[in-house]
């Protein structure tokens, strides 16, 4: 069992993105992106479509190359961790499981790849509330069920860090509430949660910190409380959606 908020070797499991720049065919997708997501906190990673959120998350997970800069989890690149599933649980897309494989089969493959005990599969199915459909092929599941399976995949290794890209897509009201409880519990247990979403009402409720990216640049990196307070002289809180849109310029 990993100590909450720490990697298997005891390193504090902050996510650090340092001066990340990515240029694709002459287009700067990420431009000196730097921020830190800390243990014990839910960090919302917000931005318009195409702002660079998913690219940043993929870079943290070593899936996309950076042109310059670096990312670390618990002090080292993601790929250097010996049991990555115990360090980081990631949900990048609800379509990351083979459509002909059952939910149990998918989770068994993931557990086996990191030497996790078979019992972890049952725990993950139970945690995500998908025990009744454990033997259903992924291709026959609704989007919401595939999201739950993706969350089960992310949480199967009891990781110190959880990275979720648009986890609310396809979830119904009950599942959104369930996710809120789960993510809050993870952060309260000392884990690092980095969350990308367009569901502002939910993000406002659940997040401790906020990072906003637009056109490949970080526009805001602060606590949620500070961000929602428009100015030190004006203690009145603004809704996240208004504050966010004022920053990204879509009002």
């Amino acid at each position: 069992m990993t100590t909450p908020g720490a990697t298997a070797d005891g390193q504090a499991a902050s996510i650090v993105v340092q001066d990340a720049t990515k240029i694709i065919e002459g287009v700067t997708v990420l431009d000196g992106v730097s921020f830190t997501a800390r243990p014990g906190r839910v960090t919302a990673f917000l931005g318009p479509n195409g702002a660079g959120k998913s690219t940043t998350l993929r870079a943290i997970l070593g899936i996309d190359h950076l042109t310059s800069g670096h990312t670390t989890i618990g002090g080292r690149p993601f790929g250097d961790h010996r049991q990555p599933v115990r360090v980081v649980g990631a949900l990048l897309t609800p379509d990351a499981a083979h459509p002909r494989r059952t939910a149990r089969g998918h989770l068994t493959v993931v557990a086996t790849s990191n030497g996790l005990p078979r019992a972890s599969v049952g725990r993950a199915l139970d945690l995500a509330g998908i025990v009744p459909i454990a033997e259903v092929p992924v291709g026959k599941m609704s989007l919401g069920m595939r999201q739950r399976l993706g969350l089960a995949t992310a949480l199967i290794g009891d990781p110190a860090v959880v990275i979720l890209d648009e986890p609310h897509n396809g979830l119904d009201a009950a599942a959104i509430r369930w996710l809120r409880v789960v993510l809050r519990a993870l952060a309260d247990a000392g884990r690092t949660v980095l969350l990308s979403s367009h569901l502002m009402s939910e993000i406002e409720v659940i997040s401790d910190d906020v990072v906003i990216i637009s056109e490949g640049r970080i526009r805001v990196a602060s606590t949620m409380e500070e961000f929602l307070t428009a100015a030190p002289s004006d203690p009145e809180r603004m809704p996240l959606e208004e504050r966010y849109l004022s920053v990204v310029g879509e009002l």
């Binding site: 459509p99 089969g105 790849s113």
Partner: protein, 244 residues
Amino acid sequence: MTFAWRSELLKIATVRGQWVSALLATAAIPVISFLVVSTGGLGSGESSTRGAATGTLAGLLAFGAWSATIAAGEYAQGTMVTSLTTVPRRLTLYGAKLSATATVAGAGALLSAIIAWLVVLGVRAPGPYGLGDPASLASVLLAIVTVAVIGVSVGLITRSPSAAIALVVVALLLPKAASGLLGGLQPWIIGASPDTVVTELIGGGHLAADQTFPAGALAAALSMVGVALVVAAGGAVAFLRRDG
């Protein structure tokens, strides 16, 4: 590596299309051998072992096509993201894919060769042509594992199952089909092709001089393996450059 290898084996075992395809590929050699031998297609001077290997090309094509979908299918289905985040060390993941596919292909080839040999014995008594050397059927295993390694690697390079299958099939069939275009290279290329290597190692296949590897059967087998290693290295480079 062991965990990743087991995981790759489980990937095959938990998708019905994958293990059924491997089973069908395993059946290819015995079925073809049975058809050839039972219809009198085997020369009167050829051994039972040679008869058991007559379906080798079908087995190579079947396992080649199957292996081509192993890595390419992950890109097509979008599941490579899961593989990359659960086994982020690229060479470990690649090695696990290669070794798991080779394990299944090797086991299938071994089973295939044994069944084919027993089938031929059941259909045709050894008689004056003899049993041949059953141990030489290991060449079938070697050839199929080699083609499986090439299939996985080509799949990783193309990222497209259909393109990978087409390339593997063309690589297996084109040299003989276009032998006239190969000029002086013909015996070197055809002689080192998996189907011919099996024939050379088993013997009794009546290969023409321009289809026989000039440096001998063992050198032909080594060349075949060498080509597979080069393709595998190409797959590793492609994987590291694009997904590394």
